[in-house]
């Protein structure tokens, strides 16, 4: 059981959850993720660690399907059944020089620890984040503090500048080159577009991939991605790869494999979701933990 210490919405459907997980917090580095299972019948899903302190880790979750929406219902005092990590390789934080971090949607959450780490390594860091509309702009304050300059793009122009993150990227490449390094995190089409934009300019670019995962330890092979014509496992070899080598089309296709089942899961009667959540609700927490062997209580 992993206790939720804080939970609050940053934007509609985007929730920040702070969890007690001391062993994970101690080892966490920028770019790494955890795999969580909310309740007994839940699936295992990966989520990036956005922040950590001595004993807690922070996750930022966008409700897109069954499990992430369930996570969005959690409140302080609730608990998550399983949290395992930190998984994946940490980002390669080096002194690149002038770096650009581009986050789309909930990707901005992942951009945050990266921007902090890149800045701490002595880089000049410019961040571009994109959102559909003003209500979905997240972590603006935190990112402003973490980097040298922040640009906010919205599809409808309701906040920041109107346009896509790649519009800003193109503009920055043309007006302020040279850029030494670009990091892209967000929806697959966005990362693909960023890669295509930086390719002609020859700017080294990394993308943080989000394939479907189960174990996160290299055991199932489900997270395999095609990078430079080679099969790599995103959970242990990634999740970050050279964006110019990634086959984003294969990634997009593989992520669609369970679309039908996912849709069906969302249509399920709310009772089942409610019942599932009550399994880990605090009023049942004492009962649940008393059934557990002492060693597997939390961390």
């Amino acid at each position: 059981m992993y206790l939720v210490q804080d939970a609050s919405f940053l934007a509609p459907e985007i929730k920040m959850i702070r969890l007690e997980a001391p062993r994970i917090a101690k080892h966490q580095q920028a770019g790494q993720f955890v795999i969580v299972r909310v309740h007994e019948q839940g699936e295992r899903i990966p989520l990036t660690i956005a922040d950590s302190d001595a004993s807690t880790i922070t996750l930022i979750v966008q409700g897109v399907g069954k499990t992430t929406r369930l996570l969005n219902q959690l409140q302080a005092g609730d608990a998550i059944l399983d949290v395992v990590g930190p998984l994946g390789r940490p980002s390669e934080i080096q002194l690149y020089g002038r770096t650009l971090v581009i986050g789309g949607g909930v990707g901005s959450a992942i951009a945050w620890p990266l921007a902090v780490a890149l800045k701490a390594a002595g880089n000049e860091v410019v961040v571009v984040i994109g959102a559909k509309t003003q209500r979905f702009v997240i972590l603006e304050k935190e990112l402003t503090q973490a980097c040298d300059q922040l640009f906010v793009m919205t599809d409808d122009g309701s906040y920041g500048e109107q346009g896509l993150v790649t519009d800003k990227l193109r503009e920055l490449i043309h007006s302020q080159s040279p850029w030494n390094y670009v990091m892209a995190i967000g929806p697959i089409p966005m990362m693909k577009a960023v890669a295509e934009t930086t390719r002609p300019a020859g700017i080294p670019t990394t993308a943080s991939l989000n394939p479907i995962m189960i174990d996160g330890t290299g055991m199932c092979g489900g997270c395999r991605v095609l990078v430079g014509g080679e099969t790599r496992f995103a959970c242990v070899d990634g999740p970050e790869f050279d964006a110019h080598l990634v086959d984003f089309d294969v990634l997009a296709q593989r992520n669609k494999l369970y679309r039908q089942q996912e849709q069906a899961a969302l249509q399920e009667p709310p009772e089942r979701t409610a019942a599932a959540l009550s399994q880990t609700h605090p009023c049942r927490l004492s009962e649940l933990t008393s059934n557990l062997p002492s060693s597997s209580k939390g961390e």
């Binding site: 080892h27 949290v83 062997p293």
Partner: protein
């Protein structure tokens, strides 16, 4: 002691058949295929034992279960004592009674096998273990007085579990650290419910818990905590690495990234660990096999498990594609027989060369080539080679690649001074299972390459003994580590 039949009479009794679910019925459910001996059948079968003075079956068992003594106890109706006798050497009798390749081990060495059918030792073992569970009077052996020493065991598969069991018996504290949320290793995520019910695995783990073994799930050693930290600030006196060979192998064929192409580990994990066969009670999805054609590639236990699982998930056609002949398959004979009875179609002496898909990136077929047996290789088996101009495409919507597994590298990469061989398996001193790093031992599939449950358990026992010796005198075996010399187990 009960009166025994004269030897001549004993050989007249035929080997007792294991009762099983009707093939056509079981092909549609995940309930156990074998339903188990009752006391009468166990008695009758036990009477066939010739009570050899020098019982070969005991030597045939990698952990040396005292088969003869067990059979004596069964004949006397002392089933609980029989189970306790097995437990002296084997902490997972209900598991091994179900999944051991007995035909190559105890039963393979049985003297009866020369002229008659061998004694059904596995079935009797399963009976006494189940009997013990039903009565709830598990004959747990007493533990030695506490030594105050603590050992961390990485991985909760059979190697880790048997090592932990032996260590607590010797009075040490044993803490098992497992990366997944459930305990058991392959027993939990790989071997399907219809062959090894998860409740059986959990029972055996509960028995270990009662003995005093501690378990921590969701801990990935090398990530959540390092071996150096375990030996340092976490205060363990020794570490046993039993992380298994859980790295899926692919064939590097065109089309391997198509939707519908699975590794055996992913397919079986979704179904076994995540219960994807029961969408009413599980949020994890799996490929919808209903009415579809499915092909599984390989000839080991994993392949047979995968193809039978696909059949149970409703596949209209379930093919097993293997590049050698059926008799050369490494899978247990019983499982092959069961699979065929259930409707699995074997396509032997065939090998895939390409996966074919549609514009949506979904698999539509597998291109195969016929094979013929060629020259014998190092293993003595004839290496199959493709026959020219025999290509054809089998229309299938799902493929499971089950050609074996490699060494899981997580612990090794976080521990650079740990010696491994060129395939990533940990090298150990074969006598003591000691690695190149002081205080660290290793065993099971991560040393030997993919093997069997009982061999992993034997390695766990051997390591427990060596660890115990080390904890007593602190003497580190001064032997050059030598390792699992295996590359691929693609049969």
């Amino acid at each position: 002691m009960a009166d025994r039949l004269p030897p001549k009479e004993r050989t007249k009794i035929p080997r007792q058949e294991m009762p099983e679910q009707d093939p056509l019925q079981r092909a549609n459910n995940f309930l156990e295929v074998n339903t188990g001996f009752d006391a009468a059948l166990a008695q009758k079968e036990a009477q066939r034992c010739l009570q050899c003075v020098n019982p070969h079956c005991v030597h045939g068992c990698p952990v040396g279960v005292k088969v003869r003594e067990v059979i004596d106890l069964v004949l006397d109706g002392k089933y609980l004592e029989a189970a306790a006798k097995i437990r002296e050497d084997n902490v997972l009798p209900a598991v091994t009674g179900r999944v051991c390749p007995q035909e190559h081990q105890c039963e393979g060495s049985c003297i009866l096998a020369k002229r008659f059918a061998p004694l059904a030792i596995g079935h009797i073992e399963r009976f006494v273990a189940d009997y013990e569970q039903r009565t709830g009077q598990v004959g747990l052996p007493p533990c030695a007085p506490p030594t105050g020493k603590r050992v961390a065991i990485i991985g909760s598969g059979p190697a880790g579990l048997s090592c932990a069991g032996d260590l607590v018996l010797q009075g040490h504290q044993a803490v098992v650290l497992e990366a997944l949320h459930e305990l058991g290793g392959v027993l939990a995520y790989g071997i399907p419910e219809f062959r090894l019910p998860k409740a059986i695995v959990q029972q055996e783990i509960d028995n270990l818990r009662k003995l005093g073994v501690e378990f921590q799930t969701n801990v990935v050693v090398g990530k959540t905590v390092t071996v150096d930290e375990l030996l340092g600030e976490e205060g363990y006196d020794a570490v046993f690495i039993a992380t298994g060979a859980g790295l899926p192998r692919f064939m590097n064929l065109p089309g391997e990234h198509l939707g519908g192409v699975y590794s055996a580990n992913e397919f079986l994990t979704r179904v076994n660990l995540m219960k994807a066969y029961d969408p009413q009670h599980s949020d994890s999805p799996v490929f919808d096999c209903r009415g579809r054609s499915v092909a599984v590639i390989g000839g080991g236990n994993t392949a047979i498990d995968a193809v039978r699982t696909a059949l149970r998930l409703g596949a209209a056609h379930a093919w097993l594609i293997y590049r050698r002949s059926e008799t050369e398959m490494p899978a247990r004979a019983e499982e092959r027989r069961h699979a065929i009875a259930e409707g699995v179609q074997f396509l032997t002496l065939h090998n895939p060369i390409e996966f074919v898909g549609n514009e949506q990136g979904l698999l539509t077929g597998v291109k195969l080539v016929k094979m013929e047996p060629g020259e014998p290789d190092e293993s003595g088996r004839r290496r199959p080679r493709p026959l020219p101009d025999t290509e054809r495409t089998l229309p299938v919507e799902m493929v499971v690649v089950a050609i074996g597994a490699g060494a899981n590298p997580l612990v090794q990469t976080s521990l650079p001074d740990l010696q491994t061989n060129r395939w990533g398996y940990i090298t150990v001193d074969p006598a003591s299972m000691a690695t190149s790093k002081r205080g660290v031992f290793a065993g099971g599939d991560i040393v030997s390459g993919s093997a069997t449950v009982i061999l992993a358990m034997a390695a766990g026992r051997q390591a427990a003994q060596a660890i115990s010796d080390f904890l007593k005198d602190g003497e580190w075996p001064n032997v050059v580590a030598r390792g699992g010399e295996c590359e691929s187990n693609y049969p």
